[in-house]
Subunit: 400 residues, 2 copies
């Protein structure tokens, strides 16, 4: 609903918005020091942004709900992550930079091990190496069955993605993965009559794959699940009348940005490269999504010190961005990944919006605790984009 | 909607949750001292919980809405109290420990006074004593009309409850209470054709009751309203995969807990008894609802000093609970009942969640004002349960 209103009110303006997403930004106190990663890190540039801006904490989905990267980012882009679900197969494709066309059906795949009676003995084929897996994907890639083109691409270890392209393909299908060993892979069944043809084709593909893989123990069979189409999302151009650019090192985030219509900038492999890419493209766009992954990775690894270091590294790189003097600067995360917790968590995420008319508060420090006293209070992440648009004077009045 | 997501994400875990509900917890300042009940009471254990936990204020229904006990508790159990309405008749039955079966229709009843023309002269029959009322209920109890069993049970003074058990009973009925004196009781009418038979049976019952009561002036007639079935609520087992136990001295709260699937522990009549019951049952369950009534009663009576005393009594009993070291401890109320106001009120209710990963804030004192600076901010009461579940590591990630 928030986007229905925004869409009606959005206008173009010369103002530029930069949304800097530090993945997994929020943290928890270290047991020894009692300070969070943000409270520990020396981050003078982020502190200065907090001092200039309006601060708060945001819930990506809802209080208590731990988000995956997909819904976490959709919320930041202003899309209600509960209404706009991304199917598992589509997210896997998105994550591997595979662009789904309208009508394509994507699935998540596993190589698995079956015994001579066809019973699954290992659902992950002994977690074969990514190299081995890539070779096997090549064997299965490029088939055409009943007019349907089948593309297979490696993901990691035993995991791969499958994309079926053809006419009238459906996603109302059961999965072939019985989710346990000691059973044979299940036949894919149509959950409605229209999906019968799709089920037949996928079953034929699985049979052929079994035949091709039979001499490749332990990866002598495949399992498919999470059949999904590219989600039908309105683009950011349609909703916000923005001309948006995404800068992200990891394919998953480029993919998510692409789903909402962003252009993708080629960039390097470091966060410094990403800031440089921002500078180089600054004149051609009016919205920039700059994604920094490694705060999350360090949090996931439970590495408090590394998360602190990456925060400091990002802070040091910030002047390149600040010199561009964006009219609206948003700094936030897609969810918290506290090192003490070692994974994505439900804790609200720090968010700051710095802009000419932002109504600055008294917060001077970029941290979870300091932001409790911020002028934004506790908000829903999907409202951040509306606030950014308002601060960029890109939203007209609602009603007369 | 929050529960749809929670249901998908819920998993069992060894962690235990204790939800301590101090009924009518929130207050208002005493006019002389300027301090609320919580600010006046000496409550070191509650203060310590606030210091360890994450604090905030919650709206049971919505800002400005004063909740009854039913919706107040449904919200605490994570049920949207606006979507999940409990009919008056059903709540009355619940409150008297009367267990409604599927298909039963319950109603609230009043004894009233009618003159010799059948015109109501007193809708409450001079507020006859509960003893007198109980005797009259016995006269009306146990009829069978058209295959429908009719149970009548006393509530308090002129109030009673009626439960109709039979086939195809409906609740789309008008009420017999004209809500004013000087009129005759109304005939019960069916609001749709399917309810015609139910209306007939209830009208026959009222006629018989009138006949039975004619020599019992001032209680010589009855009025019925609030026809309702047992609400169809998913259980906490279904939604949260919890094994929940309720500990409550008053039947209303046991009844509410039963409606959401909780087991009910027999307990004594004091709050100390209730804490003892918690300890005795601690190994057998993973969720505990412990309800303390007397904070509300004192507030309703406008007795500031007594409310303070009961807060202190509860605080003193707390160590029995604290020694159990629950993984997640929630302390809150179902609504505010400020003694200065003398009744349930709309003021947000203090809430604290204490758990390993709760992201403690700087709050050190258990009070309405101190909690304003808390890390939870201002939340909706129905989100408390989601947060408790997250802190107990009983919720998996939403999306990938």
């Amino acid at each position: 609903m928030n986007q229905d209103i925004t869409k009606e009110l959005a206008v173009t303006s010369p103002e530029k918005i930069v949304m800097l997403v530090l993945d997994g930004l929020g943290g928890l106190p270290d047991l020894n020091t009692g300070k969070t990663e943000l409270e520990t890190a020396h981050i003078p540039n982020l502190d200065a942004i907090a001092a200039r801006g309006i601060c708060g904490l945001s819930d990506p989905i809802a209080p208590g709900i731990t988000p995956g990267s997909g819904p976490g980012h959709l919320a930041l882009f202003g899309y209600d992550p509960i209404v706009n679900e991304i199917g598992r197969g589509a997210l896997e494709a998105t994550g591997m930079d595979v662009e789904l066309k309208e009508g394509d059906v994507a699935a998540r795949g596993n190589f698995c091990t079956v015994d001579d009676k066809g019973i699954i003995t290992d659902r992950r084929a002994g977690r074969i190496s990514s190299e081995k897996s890539a070779g096997l994907c090549k064997l299965l890639d490029g088939m055409k069955i009943g007019g349907v083109d089948i593309k297979i691409y490696p993901v990691r270890e035993h995991r791969f993605g499958a994309v079926f392209s053809g006419k009238d393909l459906q996603t109302d299908l059961t999965e072939s993965d019985p989710s346990q060993t000691g059973k044979a892979p299940l036949e894919i069944k149509a959950l409605n009559p229209k999906a019968k043809l799709t089920a037949d084709i996928i079953n034929q593909f699985i049979a052929k794959a079994k035949d091709i893989l039979k001499s490749h123990h332990p990866a002598n069979m495949i399992l498919l699940r999470g059949f999904a189409r590219k989600p039908q999302l309105k683009t950011m151009q349609e909703i916000y009348k923005l001309n948006p650019l995404a800068i992200a090192v990891y394919p998953m985030y480029r993919g998510l940005a692409r789903l909402v219509g962003m252009k993708i900038a080629p960039t390097g492999t470091t966060l410094e490269d990403e800031f440089k890419t921002l500078k180089e493209n600054y004149n051609q766009y009016d919205f920039f999504f700059l994604h920094i992954k490694w705060t999350d990775t360090a949090g996931e690894d439970g590495d408090f010190a590394r998360k602190v270091k990456i925060l400091e590294q990002a802070d040091k790189a910030l002047p390149v961005l600040l010199e561009l003097k964006p009219d609206v600067l948003v700094v936030t995360g897609d969810h918290s990944t506290p090192a003490a917790f070692g994974g994505h968590s439900w804790h609200p995420v720090p968010v700051v919006i710095s802009a000419k008319y932002c109504r600055t508060d008294a917060v001077k420090e970029f941290s979870e605790n300091a932001f409790l006293a911020g002028g934004l209070g506790r908000i829903s992440a999907k409202d951040i984009m509306t606030l950014a648009m308002a601060n960029a004077r890109k939203l007209t009045k609602y009603g007369a």
